[in-house]
Symmetry: C2
Subunit: 470 residues, 2 copies
Amino acid sequence: MTDLLHRDPQVIAAGIELLATAAEHQAARLSRVDWRPPMPGTEADLAAVMADTRRVAGNAEAMRRMLAIRPQLVDVVPAADALALQSGEFLHAGPPIDWDRASGPLRGALVGAAAFEGLVEQPDEALTLFASGRFALDSCHHRHAVGPMAGVLSRSMWVFVVQDPATGARAYCSLNEGLGRVLRYGAYGADVLDRLHWMADVLGSVLQTAVRKSGPIDLAAILAQMLQMGDEAHNRNRAGTLLLLRQLIPALVDSGQPSSVVADAVRFIGGNDHFFLNLAMPACKLALDAAREIDGATMVVAMARNGTDFGIQVSGTGEAWFTAPALVPEGLYLGSYRPADANPDIGDSAITETAGLGGFAMAAAPAIVRFVGGTVADAMTTTKRMYEITLGEHPVFTIPELDFRGCPCGIDVTSVVRTGILPQINTGIAGRVAGTGQVGAGLVTPPAAVFPAALRQLAERARASGTMAG
Amino acid sequence: MTDLLHRDPQVIAAGIELLATAAEHQAARLSRVDWRPPMPGTEADLAAVMADTRRVAGNAEAMRRMLAIRPQLVDVVPAADALALQSGEFLHAGPPIDWDRASGPLRGALVGAAAFEGLVEQPDEALTLFASGRFALDSCHHRHAVGPMAGVLSRSMWVFVVQDPATGARAYCSLNEGLGRVLRYGAYGADVLDRLHWMADVLGSVLQTAVRKSGPIDLAAILAQMLQMGDEAHNRNRAGTLLLLRQLIPALVDSGQPSSVVADAVRFIGGNDHFFLNLAMPACKLALDAAREIDGATMVVAMARNGTDFGIQVSGTGEAWFTAPALVPEGLYLGSYRPADANPDIGDSAITETAGLGGFAMAAAPAIVRFVGGTVADAMTTTKRMYEITLGEHPVFTIPELDFRGCPCGIDVTSVVRTGILPQINTGIAGRVAGTGQVGAGLVTPPAAVFPAALRQLAERARASGTMAG
């Protein structure tokens, strides 16, 4: 102690700037460390999980499996065929939820889907049928599917079939309807249902013919190119949509369909800059599904919201959902809509962030700040911050603006809990009243509580398995 | 003097770092100014031109006229119709040049064009006809046209017609053939001629039908979007090509042409990421032509190369070309090609830089460094440096990476001479031997000498006009 007092102090300041500045004012030699305390009450669970001897290898295996997937668009088929959906059965985005807790936009999409299926004459007639439990609800994720926003899928809707050629594993997603007043944002007017009928009666089979004629379309190659073209594959899919269109057009033209039908389909796809989102999502879902069910792995394999709850699933905890109330995004509003009109965060589209795209790849898409808010500098900082909570960098999805560094991917529950840094999500904003549609787009994070909850179960499993070091 | 020695020195250091550092080591208060001496021997001309009372208003008018142009693709027609080209008459890129001084790739493209026109059986037979002066050569720029690389246009080739709706002014450019072994890079094999025949016999009229059916296509809107999608519209036109395709496809599909013909045309356009370059160029040409012939204006209205000479034209000096030997680009080479295989800089495509795109907009296209060389940081620095030699910032062409700052545009001869900063050009590299084709892509500048030469004539005109202040 005496000796300490006689030497020049060397101060390492971790976290509290006030103390660092005070030391600096006394001319102490100072090193700053960007350290934050772990989330409160997580110390014991963190220690248990960090000591799990399966963790490092498990996460490496999760990353290896995720990165080995080569998502290809191989077919377009009715949901009834692909997902064995029955009449009166509806899938939705996010973790499982009952009608009584469902948010406005999810209810709006469900009653619209019931009318679209012809189960009721008018959407409102479906309210009591859902409330009474006559119609069945389940999570898209439970059928290898994902859906943006409300994410409602019923049997007559068509879905993209995305497949990994090596394993034959598949993932599914609906066809994108465009922006504004659309079912996935909770709108269910006659215009919405008319569009859905045209998509089911015409667009689906036109796309099926074209995809079957063109052969598998390499979605990883398109995603990689998009990042070189200012898309982050969640709220910007402009380049992706054009790249898809380029690949499909020769087969569309040669499809044998009447030219007016082909022209309509091309106008619809080309007129919707978000069309490719519904392919980016199942591509990410397919990669992440491959990383499920690895003992000891702390990697997040799904982040999803149903408009009420935000849920995550983790590789080392099987099918369990860790949920907490979804937050309301902050962002830019369309027309006269205001924050008070916004529903809490909704949709399976956060699967893109889970795979290292979307908010994690914002540095590749500086123009997106005009759609979701914030500054270009924020976008750069966001991507850089995500490296602190991820297990690796994507070898194929690279960011020119960061000298072609790979996207941060593989969200690590322990890193999130240790640093308090939450995953950044870009998202659309649905109106909270059923029937409204889209009101804006913005930025959101998961509720922090889902990560300590997941950590708790990882710790319990580690303790139960007897695989803890020391 | 005595007083000076008693006060604290305040040093302003302009240009020489050694002196600045020395002063700093003596604890002098120091302000650094990024100053360079003007180009040698230009002091008197600079003084004359800077004193020309017409200069400021002239440049403002040049900028106003350039920025008022709204380039639209309005038609696709044979060059014979659009440019009144006669049999045996050939246009080429860059300032005027005779056959005896023409470079390998320009000669290759000319003999290929003669064979394509059926004026000779084999390309080589055209050599003596060009050498003897039987065939006439002129600069594309003299006919309101531009051509990439060799830029050779003959009467049976089809051209894009780009028009400003307000003034009716027009500019023209050939259709892009793709990369590699193509006429504009000096290749003239059977494959090259076959492609040119298909373009003349099929592609031209398919595009004509589609453009006439779709109505005018707003090229400024596409260019603005491209910059948000990683293109700089010279060596990256990937997004531009896709955006064009999206607009043309409904009309192509509905054109009444056989579906196999439409599919071939779509595959050709979609398979060539540079297709839009030949629309970016005449869009820039049209805007810059509007800024010509303004007394006192020191704005560059054309930069162009014929493979031997690099030439510029300036608003205040009429039709005069100021030329010097073209430099050889530095860059990345295809396959086994090496710098020794490169021809000096060639093509009218530097019209994009003249309008604030290409090398001036590299910050918007970080991925381009994989094609032309350099680092992402270089690309950012290059764009920022170009603001030092330009008159303004483009209100429509903005760069997300620079927080949506407008592209630097309107190259000012006086600023180039005063700072010694040369315009940065991204370019393809042609093989120097006729018949080779493309060997690489890279970066180049004009030879410095063209700017003092232009300044000299601006000064002479200022002196002659009696419009010098003081």
